[in-house]
Every structure is written in C-alpha cells, then in structure tokens.
C-alpha cells in the first residue's frame, strides 16, 4: 500500500510541476502578481509530494517489500539497514527519483530565498525549474517507475545490492553529486529567465552568484568523494580513470568553474555578459548530457546504470528540447543582453588586467571541457561514421589535460595579483620574484629527497614541474595575502584586524586556489612515486616495498552479514617499528555469488599504505598487492579545500544582505561600484 501512496504522490508532484511550469511564466508576461506568486507555493508543494514519494520508496526498501521490481532487484533481507536506505538510489529508477527530489529541494530553496528578487524574475526562474521537473517526472512515470510491481508471484528474496555499492561511499557520493548537477539547473533557469526578460545587469549577476557558487561547491565535493570512494573500494588503488561517467561529472565542473569566475567579471565590471549566460546554460546542459550518457547504453562504463536505448530516446529528446531551445533562445536574444541603453558603451581593460586573466582562465577551462567531451564521445562518433570501434582512454586525456592544468596553475599565480582594469606589470614582476625563486628552488631540490634513493637517476621531471607549479600558486597567493594584510598602518596588531576586514569571497578564493595546488601536488607526486609490488606470499612471509616491510601474518575466514570472506592480516613496519596492521579481504556475497576485493588502507598525509588480496595460488599462497602511495591523500584534501573555498565565498556577507523589492538600475550600479571599492580593487 505504501508503494501506491508513493506512486500517487509522484503523480501529484508531476501535476504541480506542470502548473509551476506554466502559471508563473504566463503571469510574468500578463503582469498578474497572484499568478507569479503561485510559483513559490507550487514549488514548495512539489517538494512535499516528491519527498513523500521518496519516503515511501525508502520504506519499501527498509521493509523488504520485494513485490516492487526495483526493490527486488537491488535489495536483500540480509542487507544491513543503512545500505537498504542507500540502495534506494543505487540503480537507475531510484537514482532518478533522487534527481527529482533534489530538483524539488533546489526549487523550494529558490522559492524561499528569493524574496529580494524582482517577482518577474523569480517567477520565471521557478517556471523554468518547473518545466525541468515535468521532464523528469514524465521520464520516471513513463519509463522508469520505481514503484512498478511484480505480480502475482512476488519473490521472497531480493537480488541484493551490487557488493561494490554496499559501502559508505554510496550513502554520501550520489546525493552530494546530484546536489551539484541539479544545482546548476538554478543557474540555467536564471540565465534563461534573463534571456526571456532581456534584463541582464550586475544585479542579476549578484542574485545568481550564490546559487551558482553553492551548486559548484556541492559538485566539487561530490566529485572528490567519488574519486576517494573509487580509490578505497575498487581494490587496485586507482582514483580516476577518465571513465565516461567520471567525465560526465568533470565536464559540468569545469564549466561551472569557468562560470564562477566569469560571473565575477559580469558582476563587478558588467563584461562577459553573453559568455556568462552561455556558460550557465552549458553547465546544466552537460549535467543532462551526463544523465543521458550514463543511462542510454551508448558508452561502456563500469559505472553505467542502464543499457536501455528506449530510455535513451526519451532522455535524448528531453535533452534536445531543453538544451536546443535554450541555445536557440541564446542566439536570438543574445544581442539584447549584450548592451543596454544608457550603459557605458565600452568596458575597457588592459592586457594584464584581472579581466584578461579570467578570460584566460575561461579559455583553458572550456578547452579542457571540450577536449574531454570530444574524447569521451569519439568512440561513439567514430562508430556512427563507420570509422571502426576506437577506444579513447587515460593516455589521451592525460596527454592534454596535464598541460592545460599546468597552464591554469601558472596563470592562477599571476591572476591572484591582478587588478581590475589594469595591472602594473612592474609591480607584478617585483612581487612575483620571490615566489618564483621559491618555486624554482622547490622544483629543483625537493624531488631529490622524495625518491627512495637520493640520486640524479631517480630525479623526476614530472615531480619537479608539479612542485614548481604548486609552490608557485601557494607562494603567490600568500604574497597577495601578506600585501593585503600589510595595508594601512604598519602596526603589529593591524595585520590581524585587516584579516577580519577581508571579505569571505577573498578567503574563498585563497582557500580554493591553494586547494588546487594541494590537489595537484597529490596527483603529481603520487603518480610519480607510487610503488607497487605483486608478490606471492604464504603466512609468515615478508616483503619489502619502498622502505616498508610487510609481513603476511595470517589468513582467516570470517562471516559478514551477507558475505563470507577470506581475511588476511598484514603488518607493516618501517625501520623495525610497527606502523600499521592491515586486514584486506576477499569477499563472496552469497546473494549474487559475486566476489569482491576489499582493500586495506593505512592512510597518512605523506603516504598511504594500500594492500589487497589478489588470487589464491597453489600451496596456500596468495597473490598480494602491496602499494606505497606517497601524498595520494592530498588529492582529496585538496578537493575538500576547493569546496571549502567555494563555501566561504557563498557565505560572503554581500550575498546574504536582503535587498528590498526590485532595485533600480542606478541603485544596483551604485552598489556594484561601492562593493568594487570595498574590496579594494582586488
């Protein structure tokens, strides 16, 4: 019965979203304030009903209602409860319901926090969000209904959740990721609303910015969690594979990052307007494209949900409609938003200005995204054009991405110091000298100490470049911070007070940029200095890897809630001191008869020890994989820092100030000018 309630709630939500898509938008053209305001209540109502639907599905899982096809396919009576809950979004139908729920959450948030926006704008934004909800609602109800029943003979036991998904990672990664993906729909809605209304100025940018930043923060953390989860879960120590599904999350992130930077130019200087709108449309389009790629079966991936061309057609049609119509709107209405009557005709900025730096940033980020898009889709394109079945994998992506990322980092160092309109090249040279020297020294010297043996033979150019670039970003950022703190008087205490005067968005920028440096450091150093050995061991054996000694103490058989496992105990020693005791497992999940490798980790800031059981060999021996991975944790630490930086920016007081009613152009212009001065022409 609960499933029926859930089903009905979903249908009600669909009806509400249809109303939400039509009424406020119509009202905004006709000028009916009641219609426009209806959008807010409809969005909240939609959230209530989608939440009810989601709760019913969760209840079905927790209660082991195997009469539902979806529950029967993805759950099991022996599955621990927390995984029963996360199994709700473990496969196609449920994950779509999660999408719909999160879309409803964002819509409701817009409804609740848009009091200071002009009603015309907020009603249109909500209508557009409503239209997207309609698309997803229809998709779920027509092709992917999680409430579909198996009748009359329902199974008494379920097929179990894929063992790889029975993990903490499934509890956090998809919700966080979807918050990001779906969050960009708000940016999209703002952009389309601006194009419809033809009103687009710094005020729009100021209103849209917190929404864009928060979606970006979620996506950043979502991707970081995904990479971390793959690392410890998949059993062989990799953390990024340029798999189509992974790329599907990175592409919106790259565009989102470009957007976060581009909109700052739009807000502060009124430039890059059409470009910012385009990016906002593009970010969400890529989210939708990702949804298509992952569920239509056109690309192979370990992460792929469903291989169903029929569903693929629906998503493709939806994708075409949403993206196609918004890009057409962009092409037709673009000129209207580019220039406003009475505005300054030319926004000028010089060669080394912050505007130029951010333009460079955007060029590199969008090129990287395009490269990834081409690489991911090329097998598909080649197949359609009958050019054969071609594979495009990590060698291709790394070949292009690494230099692009390095270019970004070099530019980042300069950009932190740049000023709006014009940067003094002389000052840049002067201030940049010390950071440059420090980075150069780090690049030349440090690789000598990081290799196992100190010698020129093991000197790694890659490590040197990574260190140089990371140090460059950090030192330039700190140099800028120092300079800002020093402003005013030279009294000792004033530095601290100056710290409090710096706005949240400045700290956000610093933390995020340093986060990139940390992440890059982790990526570069762990790739270069990773040591791996696959050895044959019996209990009692000892092996040496990168200065650590691993002893294979014992092998036992243990029983888990829904699996049986061979569990090894391996102790790690460094310089004769016990450093860690690790328990890698080889699990067999009974329900699916599936074998899974559960690696054992000893995490540390400077290195991870990673051990996994390979295959059992003759004479009680096992193939054991021993890894020492230096600095790999910095990757996710950096990722979290980037997210934190974004969060600090969102919390900047400027965006939390409530503005009464609709601002007049003069008022908003004055405020933009004031804030530009306030942050001291950063």
């Amino acid at each position: 019965m609960i499933a029926e309630y859930g089903h009905i709630a979903l249908i009600v939500a669909l009806c509400l979203s249809v109303a939400q898509a039509i009424v406020p938008m119509a009202g905004s053209f006709a000028g009916y304030r009641t219609w426009m305001r209806l959008g807010h209540s409809l969005a909240l109502g939609q959230l209530v009903f989608v939440a009810i639907s989601f709760a019913c599905l969760t209840a079905a899982f927790v209660q082991d209602d195997f009469s539902l096809q979806y529950v029967a396919n993805n759950s099991n009576t022996l599955l621990p409860t927390q995984f029963k809950v996360s199994a709700v979004w473990g496969a196609h139908e449920g994950s779509l319901l999660l999408w719909a729920l999160i879309l409803a959450v964002w819509s409701a948030a817009v409804a609740m926090f848009s009091g200071h926006l002009p009603l015309v704008l907020s009603s249109r934004v909500l209508s557009i969000l409503g239209a997207i909800s309609v698309g997803f609602g229809l998709f779920i109800l027509l092709t992917s209904n999680p409430f579909a029943r198996i009748l009359p003979f329902s199974p008494t036991e379920g097929g179990d959740l894929n063992p790889l998904l029975q993990d903490f990672g499934l509890i956090v990664h998809p919700p966080m990721l979807y918050m990001g993906y779906v969050g960009f729909s708000v940016a999209f809605a703002f952009a389309v609303a601006a194009l419809i209304g033809g009103q687009f100025d710094s005020a729009w940018a100021r209103w849209a910015r917190p929404w864009i930043n928060s979606a970006w923060v979620f996506l950043t953390i979502g991707i970081t969690l995904g990479s971390w989860w793959a690392y410890y879960e998949l059993g062989w120590g990799g953390w990024w594979f340029w798999d189509p599904v992974e790329n599907a999350s990175l592409m919106p992130w790259l565009v989102g990052t470009a957007l976060v930077h581009s909109i700052s130019v739009t807000e502060k200087r009124g430039a890059f307007r059409s470009w910012t709108l385009l990016l906002a449309i593009l970010a969400f389009s890529l989210s939708l494209l990702g949804t298509f790629l992952v569920r239509s079966g056109v690309l192979t991936s370990v992460h792929a949900f469903a291989n169903d061309p029929e569903r693929g057609i629906f998503i493709l049609a939806f994708l075409g409609l949403v993206v196609g119509s918004s890009l057409l709107l962009f092409a037709l209405r673009g000129p209207v938003v580019q220039r406003q009557k009475g505005d300054a005709e030319v926004v000028s900025y010089s060669g080394l200005s912050r505007e130029m730096m951010l333009l460079l940033n955007n060029v590199l980020l969008v090129s990287a995204m395009a490269m990834i898009l081409i690489g991911t889709l090329y097998p598909l394109i080649a197949d359609v054009l009958d050019l054969g079945k071609i594979s495009v994998g990590p060698p291709y992506f790394n070949f292009f991405f690494v230099p692009m990322a390095l270019g970004l980092m070099v530019a980042m160092g300069f950009a932190v110091f740049s000023r709006w309109k014009k940067t003094d090249a002389q000052m840049l040279r002067q201030k940049g000298m010390l950071p440059f020297l420090i980075s150069l020294t780090a690049a030349l010297i440090l690789p000598l100490f990081l290799a196992e043996s100190m010698s020129w033979e093991t000197y790694s150019i890659t490590a040197a470049i990574t260190l140089g670039a990371s140090f460059w970003v950090v030192t330039m950022s700190l140099e800028d911070l120092w300079q800002k703190l020093d402003r005013g008087s030279s009294k000792a205490g004033s530095r601290l007070t100056n710290m409090t005067k710096l706005p949240g968005s400045y700290w956000g920028m610093q933390v995020a940029h340093i986060g990139i440096a940390v992440c890059a450091l982790g990526v570069g150093l762990s790739s270069v200095y990773d040591v791996q050995k696959d050895v044959r061991m019996v209990p009692g054996d000892r092996a040496e890897v990168a200065g650590y000694e691993f002893t294979f103490d014992s092998l036992d058989f243990v029983q888990g809630p829904n699996y049986g496992a061979s569990r090894g105990q391996i102790s790690a020693y460094k310089n004769d001191r016990l450093v860690a005791v690790l328990h890698p497992e080889k699990r067999k999940y009974e329900a699916r008869n599936q074998v899974m490798t559960e690696a054992a980790l000893d995490a540390g800031l400077t290195r991870d020890l990673y051990v996994s059981l390979g295959e059992p060999l003759k004479d009680d021996a096992w193939a054991i994989r021993l890894h020492v991975k230096p600095f790999v944790r910095c990757i996710w630490l950096g990722g979290l820092m980037i997210g934190l930086g974004g969060l600090l920016s969102v919390m900047d007081k400027r965006y939390r100030r409530r503005q009464p009613g609709a601002l007049s152009k003069a008022q908003s212009a004055a405020q933009s000018g004031a804030t530009a001065l306030e942050v001291g022409a950063q």
Binding site: F292, V298, P309, G320, G324, L327, F330, P335, V384, K389
Partner: protein, 180 residues
C-alpha cells in the same frame, strides 16, 4: 560576440544531437574482428577426441566452413548447440574450437549434446584463441574455401542470427567454391 557566432553553440548542439541519436541501439562492445579479410591464423594443436592427431588449417580441406569457439563452462554455448546440430545435419561444415577447457569434460559434453563438428581443435591454453582475437565463448567464424575469415559473430548463433548474418554469405561462398 557578433550575431552569427551566437548561433554556433546551437549548431553544435544539433550536430551532437544527431550523432547521439544515431548511436542509440549500437552496441559499443560489439567488436569487429580484426581478422575479417585475413587468412585464418596458422596453428598446430591436438584434436579433441584423438590426442595423437595434430590438426592445422590443412584440415580445413579448402571447404567453406564455420569455426565455432565453445567450452563446457560457457552457458550460452548450450543454448546455441541445438541449432549447430541442425546446421550440421543440413550439410554445413562446422569445426569446433574447444577453448580453455578440460578434454574429458569436453568429450562428455559433446557425447551428451551431440557433436556437430567435423573435428574439434583442443586449445586448453587459448593460444589459437588469442591469435583469433577471441575474448569469450561462444564465437563463430565463417571461413571461405581459400582459408580467409569472412565474418565473425560474438555470441549465440541461433536460427535468427544465422539467417540475418551468415546464411546468404555462406551460400555465396559455397557457390563460388563449387564454380571452381
């Protein structure tokens, strides 16, 4: 941005949409054989039932034939086997390639389900398999009278697949061979 450049994103979107549309329904893992148009790889392996007998491409005897990769551990092979039996009865020459299997188990398997093969190549280590580009069972190769591979199917060959992919080509090759 001038007026026309604004349309570029839309145009790209249409192009991409077209590609995605045509890619639906294509199986990304349906690999073409690298050997189509190439001679069947040379090999010298034992026959399944007669270990003393070494077989090679010479034993193909300039016939148009199918080479069917099968194994006892392959479930799908059981599904396609009846159709292979029926093809053999109709005079289609089929050579078996017993892939990564145990001799005794394989012999018993054929005893139980019928043996449509003129002879079966015993490839326990998968050496010929690698030369052929085999990556799973069942697979079926169509070889012409000159020993050139003409078509490969990965997966079950049942009546429908035979009619769609093999029958006409097989007939054509047989006619060409007979004409000589």
């Amino acid at each position: 941005m001038n007026r026309l450049t604004l349309f570029i994103p839309f145009a790209l979107c249409l192009a991409l949409g077209a590609f995605l549309f045509f890619s639906l329904g294509k199986d990304p893992l349906d690999l073409p054989s690298a050997l189509v148009g190439e001679p069947f790889p040379e090999f010298s392996l034992e026959e399944l039932h007669e270990p003393e007998r070494q077989v090679s491409t010479d034993d193909f005897d300039s016939q148009v034939l199918l080479v069917n990769v099968w194994a006892t551990w392959c479930f799908a092979c059981r599904i396609e086997h009846p159709w292979l039996n029926s093809l053999a009865k109709d005079g289609v020459v089929i050579v078996g390639l017993n892939y990564k299997d145990h001799r005794k188990l394989a012999q018993d398997w054929l005893q139980e389900r019928g043996d449509p093969y003129q002879f079966s190549i015993f490839d326990p280590r998968g050496v010929l398999g690698i030369d052929l580009g085999v990556y799973g069972a069942p697979e079926t190769y169509l070889v012409d009278a000159e020993g050139i591979v003409r078509h490969r199917r990965v997966g079950v060959v049942d009546e429908r697949v035979w009619n769609e992919e093999f029958r006409d080509l097989y007939q054509q090759l047989v006619d060409e061979a007979n004409a000589e």
